[in-house]
Subunit: 410 residues, 2 copies
């Protein structure tokens, strides 16, 4: 019997370690050459696969080049935002499985967030329905950390380390003048506050900046916010505040919408500024003090220099574990992280498997008990949760140009 | 005869290595304990000194804590934006020199940009006029690299490394979808394009993104810009463009002013968005493609993880050299960098001294011959100039929290 081949794809927005998960899948696949034939990648996810855009990893990244995946940002294989049809009667399914058969695919891996797990769910259900022997496994990734049934997600630790380190640096930068100032830092995470909460780690000592941290899990009240800032001036003339991009008021209106409702550009179009810019203007206007806003932006998900070594290692493990699970006959599962305590009390992580149907289209928020009563800070329990995830740094090799060396598709 | 004491201050906006220059001055001062007594720091520059806010480095940063200055962002001593009066007849001058005498100051060091060199100029001229024996030396720093009579400035190399590395990462992040997109990256540098020019290093191969780099030294033409972007789509569906915050059109109007002239916030105030946000809206409107803008913001001057080892080393050397020069009787000078070529053709830097009066209030632009003819790129000569300045990375120690350990005033 000919050995079946493996194929892997990436989908959705990248993280700093989405390529570490890819490395885990590919290197484990190659290591099992007794059971697995070729190791393919689909270029631009399932969408590119439908257009026959694939590569063979043994040719694309020979030798140590494969190792470079571990610190390369972006999605090496390219990504897509393609949602498979709800009805498994749709003709795209037989088309896909015909292609799988032509390529003799026996193992299918998809690295992504909620939407990608939806793809894993549909393909595994179609396989079950048609009696296909193909194994379909989901590899989690998201900086938002909002997947259910897993302690955390690969990508979150590095983004959290980026946020915490950068907020610590910005706080030093924002504290050089003896003059009242407010710095608003806007952080990603969509509807979940996990990433913004990590800014609490930036504090060098109890009572340090950032004084306030506002998550989308609590309703944001602009008047209370202004009072919070004024009270902070009693302790420090330089006040740093961290806000989630998704903060909203009690009515559910996003704070960033307040600006766009009035600001227009030269073409008469609404200017979509973020909530940080809005709050910067609010502070300058109402409190009459120097204000600045900083949107941390895409570096949160693509900074190689601030990859968390713990996150990178776990992302590789998740990739490897998924391949081992598929070889053991598992399908329709997502690799999950289960937190354990070692005998000495230290953090340990084990990989597990969860039914992918219970994960797709769900969102996990920061628990209410981890947000302090006044809605402007996080608890020590959260700090205990997040600290092991940001440990260690990664040595990124530099080229002759003095810059990090990354791999990319030619 | 009692030994004279040394005092050092920091002024203007911080850089990633302004504390490395401070380390150089302080460690060299302590090393010369045969000639120099105490080593003091003024808190918040000359402004804080006038309020008697000083510290003694032997107490504030004992032992290896002093070494931590080298990777700590922000200005450890705090900063100020205080301009001394033009007239040397002003009563602030005798007041300052009385304080110097009380503290038995013999050596005065000021780390900063243009404005700080103005302070060095005035204090050294007042000293000469009154026969004071105090030696006054300026230590350069600016990420803008716009000081004259020096090959480059400490702080520029690290900011350039940050810009180049981050643009390389953002380009990978922005290239994951097979769908037309434009990413505009807005870079600091005020009226000089040195920092934006460094984004050319981000290219991994000839013809790679960023496709276009616009500096304030050339007039910006929005219609030509749109044509540039459209032509780039013939080569790559994901186009990355780097712009200086200070780009302006042929009439001298800053591009960022076009938005603020119409956008207002809920208070009826002008919303000052940057030129990146303006161009993002322009591209979306006129070309009908996905557009995003990223303002690199203050991390350009405070990222510890992307400090250039070459820049850090040179900043320390400049600090040390200034102390040696003062001990040799020099005053009214700024430490400068002179580029040499080693016998094997490699880059070498030597410290020099320049009359501070020729430096303050001047600005150095990117030479016209280093900007390519169409005004949207830089030449190979610039690449040769900047490459040695971004070499090497620095190991930043991590604490138990997994984050960089910095020193700060208690």
């Amino acid at each position: 019997m000919t050995k079946k081949n493996l194929i892997v794809g990436q989908s959705g927005g990248p993280t700093a370690v989405i390529n570490s998960s890819l490395y885990g899948v590919v290197s484990e696949g190659i290591a099992h050459s007794d059971e697995i034939g070729e190791v393919y990648g689909m270029v631009n996810g399932i969408e590119g696969f439908l257009e026959d855009r694939i590569l063979n990893f043994r040719e694309a990244l020979p030798g140590e080049q494969l190792d470079y995946l571990k610190h390369t940002p972006g999605a090496y294989l390219g990504s897509c935002r393609y949602k498979l049809p709800e009805s498994l009667e749709d003709p795209v399914y037989p088309l896909l499985f015909e292609k799988f058969e032509e390529m003799n695919i026996g193992w299918f891996f998809y690295i992504g967030g909620n939407d990608s797990m939806d793809t894993v769910s549909k393909l595994s259900r179609y396989a079950a329905q048609t009696g296909s022997s193909i194994r379909v496994i989901g590899e989690p990734k998201t900086i938002d950390n909002d997947l259910v049934h897993t302690d955390h997600t690969p990508g979150y630790g590095s983004a959290a380390k980026y946020v915490a380190s950068t907020v610590r640096e910005i706080t030093l930068d924002a504290s050089v003048y003896e003059k009242k100032s407010v710095t608003i830092i806007e952080i990603m995470g969509r509807h979940a506050g996990w990433l913004t909460a990590a800014s609490a780690l930036a504090r060098k000592y109890k009572g340090d900046n950032p004084f306030f941290i506002y998550l989308p899990e609590s309703a944001f009240d602009t008047e209370k916010f202004l009072k919070d800032v004024e009270s902070a001036f009693e302790k420090n003339c330089n006040v740093v505040v961290c806000v989630s991009e998704g903060i909203h008021d009690a009515d559910g209106t996003f704070i960033c919408e307040y600006d766009s409702s009035v600001g227009t550009d030269t073409f008469g179009h609404k200017m979509l500024a973020g909530c940080g810019k809005y709050l910067e203007n609010l502070v300058r206007d109402r409190l009459g003090v120097k204000a600045r806003s900083v949107e941390l932006n895409v570096s949160q998900r693509c900074s190689a220099s601030l990859i968390s070594a713990a996150d990178q290692k776990e992302a590789v493990s998740a990739g490897r574990f998924g391949v081992q699970a598929a070889l053991n006959g598992e399908t329709g599962k997502m690799v999950s992280f289960v937190r354990r305590q070692a005998e000495d009390g230290s953090y340990q992580m084990e990989c597990g498997l969860e039914d992918v149907n219970l994960i797709c289209n769900e969102e996990k928020e920061v628990p209410a008990e981890w947000i302090t009563e006044n809605g402007s800070d996080v608890s020590d329990e959260f700090i205990k949760y997040v600290t092991p995830l940001v440990q260690g740094s990664v040595n990124v090799p530099l080229g002759e140009d003095g810059l990090p060396v990354f791999v990319y598709r030619k």
